[in-house]
């Protein structure tokens, strides 16, 4: 095994993706099937929330991926700006629509969950609002990619936008916190007490926790599979354009 930068070579990247993709896709399918069926049909109803608690198996993983997709785009943008690897820029481009769909899933499932629990589809709660703002950032990022003709300029400008957007996304997160207090509970999955099992009020019960973890793994694999597939498609598209340009010249 050489260094990880070998995969910056598009040919090597495409070949590796072709080899790995079926397994990643199968893992995503398997984890999601097991996790969702287990979660939906083989866990008890919550004593207060009833069956609505089961939407957690879509809501929490989608929200997690939505945030981490942006972080992944940030890392890919930095790699593009620093080391100029085209695959990295294309990976950032490929991840953006996936992230956007994940924020929409999180918002939609949240609304469906919020209606019976809080009695409202939407509240201007800090967490909900910052997610909506994140959706807007995704939209702007994708729109900028679509608007620019020259691929290198587009990659550069979207990378700069991603960096600035990250700073402002965090700023907005805290500004929104200041602006309104919310209904949404705090983080209850990725907290140390929640995992080590200190008996706090807001902890996710073990019965729900195991299938939730399987679903999260499934969403991670799904994200990975989609991004790899879309990156490979972008590489092919880029190559096709080069061939077309060459034929026009000839």
């Amino acid at each position: 095994m050489g260094s990880i930068w070998e995969y910056a070579n598009p040919v090597k990247f495409s070949r590796t993706v072709s080899a790995v993709l079926p397994y990643v896709a199968a893992a995503a399918l398997g984890c999601l099937a097991v996790g969702l069926v287990w979660g939906f049909f083989f866990t008890p109803d919550d004593y207060r929330q009833g069956a609505t608690v089961k939407i957690i198996y879509l809501h929490v993983p989608a929200a997690m991926i939505a945030i981490n997709a942006w972080l992944m785009m940030l890392a890919a943008s930095l790699i593009w700006l620093i080391r100029r690897h085209h695959v990295s820029a294309l990976a950032a481009r490929a991840a953006a629509p996936v992230g956007l769909v994940m924020t929409l899933i999180a918002l939609a499932t949240g609304a469906i969950w919020g209606q019976p629990m809080w009695g409202t589809w939407w509240a201007w709660d800090p967490r909900l609002t910052s997610f909506l703002i994140l959706t807007l950032f995704y939209l702007g990022y994708i729109a900028l990619w679509e608007a620019l003709e020259d691929p290198d300029t587009a990659a550069d400008l979207t990378s700069v936008l991603c960096l600035v957007g990250s700073v402002f996304a965090i700023l907005s997160r805290y500004a929104v916190n200041f602006w309104n207090q919310g209904l949404h509970q705090g983080a209850s999955v990725m907290r140390v007490e929640a995992v080590t099992g200190a008996d706090t009020e807001e902890k996710v019960s073990n019965v729900f926790f195991a299938p939730l973890m399987v679903c999260m793994a499934g969403f991670v694999f799904l994200f990975l599979a989609l991004v790899l597939l879309r990156t490979r498609t972008e590489i092919h598209r880029r190559r096709l354009k080069a061939i077309e340009a060459r034929e026009r010249m000839a």
Binding site: I133, L136, F137, L139, G140, A143, L144, A147, L148, T153, D156, L157, V160, L161, L163, V164, G165, F168, L171, S172, A175, V176, F178, W179
Partner: protein, 218 residues
């Protein structure tokens, strides 16, 4: 830099469009609001500060695409890029000129327009102060957006999509100052945070905008 600032100011005032347009737009937005929500003064009073902030923000947005696009078209920007002052300085001056021709007049007319919306008595000072502290950040963030979209033929709509999410923190703190001021609550914390955002943006954003501009001029 001062010569550039004066040139931009003269262009903005004399060469038609930009200067008065933002103010007229602000006036129209404020006039339209009572038509939409009803003339009831008790309903207008609580939303007055927020409406004035939104109006100022949109008016500011209106003139952003002229900030760099005109100079890009006639080649001035290329000359400025090769000039002895760094591009960061150019962007900062451009944002300054934009603020002097939009942000500052908007701040000044906000108080008279507050009368139309029945803004509560203690709110006027805070409204003007919050706009004075917040609008420089709007101009600077707008300069970044303009730098991103300068090479595009029809960048106007895209510019608003890019810039409006970046306006969120400024809007939240600025409008919070004006709202709390109008209701007679303490305003120190949001005012300080609003100033902090403006200063941070003025310090860091010229670099991002200049980077985007360099990519576009390449």
């Amino acid at each position: 830099m001062i010569a550039l600032l004066l040139r931009d100011l003269k262009l903005a005032v004399r060469a038609g469009g930009g200067f008065g347009l933002a103010l007229a737009f602000f006036l129209i937005v404020v006039v339209l609001v009572p038509f939409a929500v009803g003339p009831n003064t008790s309903r207008l009073a609580p939303i007055a500060a927020g409406v004035l902030w939104i109006g100022a923000l949109l008016a500011c947005l209106l003139s952003l695409d002229r900030m760099l696009a005109l100079d890009h078209e006639d080649g001035t920007l290329d000359l400025l890029a090769t000039a002895p002052i760094p591009l960061e300085g150019v962007v900062l001056v451009k944002a300054c000129a934009h603020w002097l021709t939009t942000g500052l007049p908007l701040t000044l007319v906000a108080a008279p327009l507050g009368v139309l919306l029945n803004l509560p008595q203690p709110g006027y000072g805070w409204l003007v102060l919050s706009l004075a502290c917040g609008t420089p950040a709007l101009s600077m963030i707008g300069a970044f957006g303009a730098a991103l979209t300068v090479g595009l033929k029809r960048g106007g709509l895209l510019l608003s999509l890019l810039v409006l999410p970046l306006y969120v923190p400024t809007l939240i703190f600025g409008a919070e100052v004006a709202r709390r001021g109008a209701e007679g609550l303490e305003t120190q914390v949001p005012l300080l945070l609003s100033c902090a955002i403006t200063l941070g943006v003025l310090a860091a954003m010229p670099f991002a905008a200049a980077a985007a501009l360099r990519i576009n001029l390449r």
